[in-house]
């Protein structure tokens, strides 16, 4: 979870303190290109693949966090 926050902060170039469940795509840093960049880096870092549907569904950091814990559970 902390690792994920770090990654998101790093990709968007924002202070990690700003990253909470409410951090959303309406923030300036989270534009459409950065969204794809984020997904691509999460996939690389965690060795997983997200579907196009999942990628579209992520609207907030909370969505992302929940999605990844679901994916991780499935993998276990």
């Amino acid at each position: 979870m902390e690792k994920l926050r770090e990654l998101v902060a790093r990709v968007f170039g924002v202070d990690i303190k700003k990253i909470n469940d409410e951090f959303s795509r309406s923030s300036v840093e989270w534009d459409s290109f950065n969204h794809l960049l984020l997904v691509s880096e999460i996939e690389k870092e965690m060795g997983i693949t997200l579907t196009i549907q999942d990628t579209e569904k992520i609207k907030t950091f909370g969505d992302l966090r929940k999605l990844l814990s679901k994916v991780n559970k499935k993998n276990e």
Binding site: G13, F33, L36, L37, T51
Partner: protein, 609 residues
């Protein structure tokens, strides 16, 4: 990663060297950091690059910039707006042309070119398909021509990725003008059209896709969501390919490979394992070294100079180089051989001095990490290759270097490695000669002077572009210019070729003379620095004087324009009986009275071509 240029900028060197670049966002962050601190780019070379792509090229700008920073280059990059590439090309007043780039990366992908036909090629009749490749090829040509008409930028035109799927499966290649054949036809048309063009270069994007893997090059999710057609993860690999074009444009190409011997050119240590004990040849443990040498030889044949820097007993090492049955590289391939117990740093300096090239033209291969670090530390200009511990990866490491590129490859370029090796023998002969005249006589020089023709024009143009030292006027001419002079009856363009007992030097000098009736004007007179002082320049002068005399000219006017580098040419006219009559707009006019006798060297055989 290391900053290869000898840029004396420690802070940026540290930032650029030690920032880990594992993903695109790392590149973007480093890019932002450096852009905020312009002082980090002090001393960097500048270049303007335009990226015209038929899809989202986001991220490319930042990655390419960082790749440039690593080489001490500060690029200015213009990326055409999404899907605006053709408008930008067609509109003469577009941002593209006002930006005035030196390099244009033109990247149109197969899906964009073909539209629906990419998926449904067989909804078209065979007759229609037959015309598809020529139609699409002319569309691409039209764009390229437009760019050519509006800029002198180098155009890096991507060819098309050949699809790996076909609706027809295993009978795809039984069709007339199947989709795969169409794409291949376009690619070969592009290749053939620009073979002899000095402005347009085909980047084999299809080969790049194969290298990465066509299954991996596209991330469909990213393509559907963001029209990204190159997987973000592979953008750094793609930018590496672009650097191959940028380096020669900024004279960052390397000219010489310096090699260690033990465990680099052969397996084992000759001083310990002996002549018969080293590993080299068609055996499981010798083949990697054998093939590494073969690849080095292929680079030598394209004009790369080779040299040795090895801590060894000279006799042991030379015995291997001369007698080992599977040694591919022999003495005749090396322009300098420093095989001794001196430190590698002084040897490296000696090699550069011997060959008369800058340390920044050298690439160093050594299996020993300590040696590499020492050299890199003391001589940051040298490109020290991080040779892997595993010798089976040597060839791959060498083959993936993009440091040896040039935009032009004349016969002289290809022979450069050989010519420098011959020069070593000449130098040895000079060192053992007791007097210079005897040495020159012993060289048995044969000089051919002839008028420029289609074979020699590219090299003559190249000489005017590259020669700095013995160059009277340093006027730079393109091939078109030389061609124009050679067709003009009032001009004479001469090339000079030299052969001596050590080998063929190729075209080493040229002159451009204007026949103005009573006065003849020497517009250009130059020689490559490696032949200066062999009186070939005097022979050419005497040739020109005689030609002018035959046409009843009275005065030969030599022009001299001083530059930062042409001191060796400074006194040539003075020492050869010319008188300074005028200096105007930086040009000195020296006159020679043609009725005076000019004695030409008798130890050179002149052949008039």
């Amino acid at each position: 990663m290391q900053l290869q240029l000898g840029v004396d900028n420690k802070v940026s060197k540290n930032i650029i060297t030690f920032t880990k670049l594992n993903s695109i966002s790392d590149y973007i962050r480093l890019y932002n950091q450096i852009e905020k601190q312009p002082e980090l780019k002090v001393g960097f070379k500048k270049i303007k690059i335009a990226i015209l792509a038929s899809f989202t090229a986001k991220g490319m700008e930042q990655v390419l910039s960082v790749k440039c920073f690593q080489l001490g280059i500060d690029p200015k990059i213009h990326v055409s707006d999404y899907n605006q590439y053709s408008q930008e090309i067609l509109d003469k007043n577009s941002q593209l042309y006002s930006f005035n780039p030196e390099v244009i990366l033109l990247f149109i992908d197969s899906r964009t070119i073909f539209g629906d036909a990419y998926f449904l090629p067989y909804s078209l009749s065979v007759d229609v398909r037959k015309n598809v490749s020529s139609k699409k090829t002319s569309e691409i040509f039209a764009l390229v021509e437009q760019i050519k008409n509006n800029t002198s930028a180098k155009i890096i035109l991507h060819n098309l990725e050949v699809p790996i799927y076909s609706p027809l499966g295993i009978v795809e290649n039984k069709q007339e003008h199947g989709i795969i054949e169409i794409v291949q036809d376009i690619n070969s048309a592009l290749r053939n059209s620009y073979k002899s063009n000095g402005q347009v270069f085909i980047f084999d994007y299809d080969a790049f896709c194969s290298k990465i893997g066509k299954q991996n090059i596209i991330d469909y999710k990213m393509y559907y969501l963001g029209d990204i057609k190159v997987h973000l993860q592979y953008i750094p690999d793609l930018c590496d390919e672009y650097l191959a074009y940028i380096k020669p444009l900024l004279s960052l190409s390397k000219k010489c490979i310096v090699l260690d011997l033990d465990n680099t050119l052969w397996g084992g240590v000759v001083g310990e394992d002996g002549f018969d004990g080293i590993k080299l040849g068609p055996t499981p443990d010798g083949r990697s070294f054998w093939e590494f040498q073969k690849y080095l030889l292929s680079l030598f044949q394209r004009g790369i100079i080779l040299a040795i820097n090895s801590k060894n007993n000279s006799d042991d090492a030379l015995k291997v180089i001369r007698e080992h049955p599977y040694m591919v590289l022999r003495e005749k391939h090396f322009a300098s051989m420093q095989i001794n117990w001196n430190d590698k740093i002084s040897n490296m300096k000696l090699i550069a001095k011997d060959i008369n090239i800058g340390l920044d033209s050298l690439v160093f291969f050594d299996d020993d990490k300590l040696n590499r670090e020492m050299v890199q530390d003391a001589l940051p200009q040298v490109h020290v290759v991080k040779l892997p511990d595993d010798s089976s990866l040597y060839l791959k490491t060498l083959a993936s270097l993009t440091d040896f590129n040039t935009f032009q490859l004349t016969d002289e370029d290809k022979r450069k490695g050989q010519m420098y090796a011959e020069q070593r023998k000449r130098d040895e002969s000079l060192a053992s000669a007791t007097d210079i005249n005897q040495y020159l006589r012993n060289l048995q020089m044969e000089v051919t002077i002839k008028k420029a023709d289609s074979f020699t024009i590219p090299r003559i143009s190249q000489l005017t572009q590259k020669t700095n030292q013995f160059n009277m006027t340093t006027r730079r001419y393109l091939e078109e210019n030389i061609l124009k002079f050679s067709k003009d009856n009032s001009f004479i363009v001469l090339s000079v070729t030299v052969v001596d007992k050590f080998g063929d030097n190729g075209i080493v000098g040229c002159a451009i003379i204007e026949n103005k009736g009573v006065k003849w004007r020497v517009d250009t007179f130059l020689f490559s620095c490696r032949v200066i002082g062999r009186y070939i320049e005097n022979l050419l002068l005497s040739y020109i004087i005689n030609a002018a005399k035959k046409q009843n000219a009275k005065i030969l006017v030599g022009e001299f324009i001083e530059s930062k580098k042409n001191a060796p040419a400074r006194n040539f006219y003075k020492e050869n009986g010319f008188k300074l009559v005028e200096k105007k707009d930086q040009i000195e006019y020296w006159e020679y009275d043609i009725s005076k006798f000019y004695s030409s060297p008798d130890f050179i055989k002149l052949i008039e071509g």
